[in-house]
Symmetry: C2
Subunit: 165 residues, 2 copies
């Protein structure tokens, strides 16, 4: 992780603080606990700004605390909790995790993964959702979960490439 990776604009810092506040509210309503560990994992994901794997999170947890070792189950349990309450997404095509910017929305997001800068953007999209529902109903299929992950190059990287690539 180079220094530049950790640079956050003030607006992003503010957004991340709000995301934590929202997460706390959601947990309170649901009568579940956003413990220090769980909050720390969510904060790390928010601050990093790109999807992180479980073992990368373990390393960050070790680096950002006085523990000498964080074992896999520790981070996986925190991730399971955050997934359960939709506070994060799992990106299956990367085996990595990223914050859910809208935990209360029922339908799962389309994730746009830039292979160039590594950023994963959520693209809430009703049209795709409708198309999937229609497709499923044609097969008489009862949808429970859906994984929609698109990889490619994001708008920012494409523009940058045109200008000085």
């Amino acid at each position: 992780m180079t220094p530049v990776d950790t640079v956050q604009t003030n607006s992003r810092k503010q957004a991340n603080i709000k995301a934590i506040q929202r997460a706390k509210q959601i947990c309170e309503k649901r009568n579940v606990r956003l413990t220090a560990l769980r909050e720390q994992v969510l904060t790390l994901l928010l601050d990093y700004g790109k999807p992180l794997g479980a073992y990368a999170l373990m390393d960050l947890l070790e680096a950002n605390s006085d523990r000498d070792r964080v074992a896999p189950p520790t981070v996986y349990r925190a991730l399971d909790f955050l997934l359960k309450y939709r506070l994060i997404h799992k990106i299956h095509s990367l085996n990595a995790y990223t914050p859910n910017s809208n935990p209360l929305r029922e339908d799962s997001s389309v994730i746009l993964i830039c292979t160039h800068c590594g950023i994963a953007e959520e693209a809430p999209n009703n049209t795709i959702q409708q198309a999937i529902n229609l497709c499923a109903s044609q097969y008489r299929f009862g949808v429970e979960k859906q994984v929609i992950e698109i990889s490619g190059k994001c708008g920012t990287c494409r523009t940058a490439e045109k200008n000085h690539g």
Copy 2:
């Protein structure tokens, strides 16, 4: 694997034989070799009828040959070949592999995964594809790959459930 899992109807046997023939034709046209190993892996996937993980495939390879051991690279290289020529899909949400019933079609399929019977069905769907393309273009995102995996209960299992569930 219970005995019933290996039962195949005659029509499925015939379809699988045709799938192998098609695979051979595709490889011939592309001037690449569907070696014994690669064909065996594809056959195992076709015959099993449900997605299989790499290590399950390794076990089946060992069971269905006189080798004493099949190492991971052996099966992964065969899988990489089959993926490259679109003869199989990787299902990321299961870390498993399943035959591609239409290797020549360019756009990637929607996969409907039944959590009840384990069968993964391909649902070629143009509407979803168009919705995704539209969504991506709104984000000025250049699509390279896409993963669309829907989990739930398939029509057959839902009907069975209604009748004697």
